[in-house]
Symmetry: D2
Subunit: 342 residues, 4 copies
């Protein structure tokens, strides 16, 4: 049973249907097809404000195009020390930005704290050209620790950033999971809270390979973003197949309902773990990821029993268990049973 | 009727079926799924030699990963002056290579001539570090002019390159079209002719977004290629959907039969144009692209009549007409009729 | 006798004296010393307009900082096909610009022609993100062919560039030689003719290692230029020793008088060659470089006789003969005698 | 009185004399003059082993050429968190390496500890292409805290690095100061202790702008280093003036004696501070930098009294006081008197 990652799950049938439907006749290449051209309007509706959307195939591409557009090569990118852009993209941010420097900060539960961010920005760059220049703040929603920023928390970070002239980027690889947990509108947790640009991840959420870079109110970034997408090799000729996925995920709030489903499984899993007395939660479970602390021997036993999951880097007693839209109640129950039985 | 590009055509139903079939259950992420893991063996069979394969979503990604792995940042990339990497990738080669220099050369029918290449390499770099250092030769098969390199022609270029220590890259955006026209084996026109690395394009050929970078006999390039793929944001988490397309295109030689079909339409179109007395062929038609020279008024009339095609950059009297697997005999007939009737 | 290059000549004694004078006591580091701080005012006086100056040690650094500040990574840099930035800087422009593309053009006597530039810009970039985007025009003064742009010629190029939104860069590696020949003011051949930024070369002119990047009216470039200078490792801690050289070259118009002296020698050399009936001038001699066309056997004989010079790349019968401030009349006479006697 | 930095000090008269002596006649450009060509032999003698030397004008250039040659763009550069390359080069390492990632580590007195380095390397890169790959270890000698690595300490770090396939780089901006304090041979603290490449700084030591990149036993790095120097704009045409400085600093062990002199002043200063009962030493004084901890009011009073120094970043009660070859005994005495009198 797979709790390794939501990116190992299949795509949702409705997305496959949309792909099939999009496979009809000729369509203008390079994101000029009517699916791609519909994205701005559809996502503007969803977010409740006019936004501009660039579809791409990976979250790394979406993140890095945004970072590179905002940060000059001598810029500093303020982020959490567990951020995906810092640890898990193989240096892609440095590649796309032509050498900007990640400025990783500590913070509870995978979240940046406004005062820590403020201090980091204010202390950096005091020696002018001898230092890198903080150029943006990037947060992950839901965080890499499975927690979720509240609108007020995002607002406070945006305020710190904006007061210092820095935009705020949100890596929303699991955005819908956060949204489902928050029970707020997409707008409330993004542009209304000060987010300038969002990497809206849909692949983990139930698509095949579809992410949308969503820009709120910065038309001056568009040309650079489009140039960077092309230069990165991310302007697919047959973009319709990416855009059709995105549209399908918006229809009837599919993204949100799949995320809610995954979150529900994670909540059950978390409850089962806590009740088991064999293990505990390392970080609060808020979205679709559960971080379980248990004796390494227990973790090994569960692995032997056929449960697949990652041991969290830097720990030997913390397992990350990810639920997806495809995780079934019985999968969770089986895991909890096995845990009890160890 | 669309003769603009084969990348505006839909995907072939068999590819869609393969995509559906791949959408079952969990699969290991990041190209460790069993579809992706099967690629080396399947393509090794196809080429008749052991090769190593990296699936990606775009031809630009495939080309640029290869160029960057072979050429140091101070390298020179010898190519034809109409090469896609020189003109149509928005500077992606320069981005991925960290600033290598394209060395564009003239040559009839979109092909590089061995003596021209030899001279360009031998004359470059004579001032050591003051000059860029020629580092590889890149050819396009079929060429941007719709012509096809014969095995002997590739061999002659490979010899020139190899004698000078330079590998040979083949941009095979329309490789299957070339292969179908040549009636030789995949091996004969690649590694047996001295090709070191091939960007095997399948998207224009009938897939959605699937290209395979195929390396012949250079295991020392693998780590760098994989790193560059990740840093470029091209290591899809759900790679199975790309790899399944590639496998489908290999089944029953689908790639080849779709290419043959497109080539047949192009041949009919070329014959019709020549017989029309209204227009002529600007370059020989060998694959699935027809370059028709006609009075600009004729071209305008055809556009008004609903035929979509590109006027070739740098000309006002040359139209590029591309046939795909989805081009029908009646589409070609309609075009030829319209041309006669102008 | 050395006619290889003016950069093989020693520094002028007055520059050495200035260096000695600058070597007294402590001075603030990183270009905050009073020599460096005086540059803006002194060069503003010289040029007759307010300009901003960044001292550096090499012409490549000056050129590349300017190119990188003006051109985005996806930009195209329009230049002559014999331009130093295209052929002789080992790819430094591509390095500093993060992969911009040089767009080399043909033109008589090493000069760009306005209509050729206009056409190149207008034809490029028609396919949007698929093409690189022309971003600036760069000319060399005096040119690599030893000729000199007149103010009207620069104006015409600036007009073509500015009408299309592109700034004009002047690589003035031999600026003083051009100026001495033109007999106009420094302002007339730069900002008054539309030059936006000048690499003012003083090393070949008689300094040790001093170049000034001079910006006319673009305060928005300053931060980026300073960042790029630091990141390139060109912000010398003891910058006073560079700036003192620049100031010394301005005192009593030393730069100009040394250039005039070198030009005079070149003119004598050119006259001697023409009178010799053994050789001819390949390009007109206007500054301090003479391009002599002669039978390869004649060139070989002169080399054997101890005269050092370069055979021009791409030719076997053209020698470049460079005069410097240190070239003596008797050196020229000896060469001409030898030529006659071959 | 200036205790701000040794790079604000003038050059030593013997270096100026050497510069004058080098200013005679023509000399081959681009590091092919006889001063530059003598460097390999002279520094090989000094180090007691064959080494290869590239002269440059700044320490940043020397460091970054080395880092870029050793680390691929996806590499990780292990260094101390106070390292100059991490904090004070404005992102130059990221620029030259095309985006490698600095991996800053904590450690007492500015020194890396072998077990900390080992752990950092071993824990990084476990997720393959998703992580950056540790590619070299860089240490500073003397450290940014004014302390000095002993040969055994360097050996232990080299062993940790080499066992893992990583070379060891030494940033020797104040190498001679370290050497003078250690009283060992140049070889014992470099190649004999496992250093693969050294940035030998001479500017702070008493030159104008001269640094030597010294490579021990890696001929395979030479081409790349030379290419990177050119592309960085650091291949001075009149390199003789840099190389002559380096040679002058080696004559009669001038570098060493100037360093010993600066160290002696620093030792006197440290002793005076400790005896003053007004302040204490924050880090041990081993080379020519003294880190004095004192009440901020005391520091302010000293500044008002005309003593120039830097407050150390991140502190308000630590002053860095740097002695140079030009610091006089009476300068130190004046400072100590003033401190006592506050």
């Amino acid at each position: 049973m797979n709790f390794k990652s939501d990116n190992e799950a299949p795509a949702h049938p409705a997305v496959m249907d949309a792909l099939m439907a999009a496979n009809e006749g000729y369509a203008t290449a390079y994101s000029q097809d009517h699916w791609s051209l519909a994205l701005n309007e559809r996502l503007s509706e969803w977010f409740g404000t006019e936004c501009q959307v660039l579809p791409v195939s990976t979250g790394t591409a979406a993140n890095c195009m945004a970072l590179a557009e905002i940060s000059p090569p001598w810029g500093g990118i303020v982020c959490h020390q567990v951020a995906h852009i810092q640890n898990d993209e193989g240096g892609a941010p440095e590649f796309y930005t032509h050498g900007a420097k990640l400025m990783p900060l500590a913070g509870d539960n995978g979240k940046l704290a406004p005062d820590v961010v403020a201090q980091a920005i204010d202390r950096a760059g005091v020696h002018g050209v001898h230092n890198v220049k903080p150029s943006l703040v990037s947060i992950t929603q839901a965080t890499e620790c499975g927690t979720v920023y509240r609108p007020d928390e995002v607002k406070a970070l945006a305020e710190v950033a904006h007061q210092r002239g820095l935009p705020l980027h949100m890596d929303g690889a699991r955005f819908a999971n956060a949204l489902a947990w928050l029970d707020c509108t997409p707008g409330e947790i993004t542009w209304q809270a000060g987010v300038d640009v969002l990497s809206l991840g849909l692949t983990k959420n139930g698509a095949l390979n579809a992410e949308a870079l969503v820009v709120f109110g910065h038309p001056e970034w568009l040309e650079g973003l489009e140039r960077r997408r092309k230069r990165g090799g991310h302007l697919l000729s047959k973009m319709r197949y990416v855009s059709a996925q995105i549209l399908a995920m918006l229809d009837d709030e599919l993204a949100l309902s799949l995320a809610a489903q995954a979150n529900a499984r994670a909540a059950e899993l978390a409850a089962g773990i806590e009740a088991s007395e064999r293990a505990s939660l390392h970080w609060p479970t808020e979205a679709n990821e559960v971080f379980m602390r248990a004796d390494p021997a227990v973790l090994a036993a569960l692995k032997s029993a056929g449960f697949a999951f990652h041991i969290w880097p830097g720990y030997d007693d913390v397992a990350r268990l990810v639920c997806s839209w495809a995780t079934r109640e019985e999968d969770v129950a089986a895991f909890v049973d096995a845990l009890r039985g160890v």
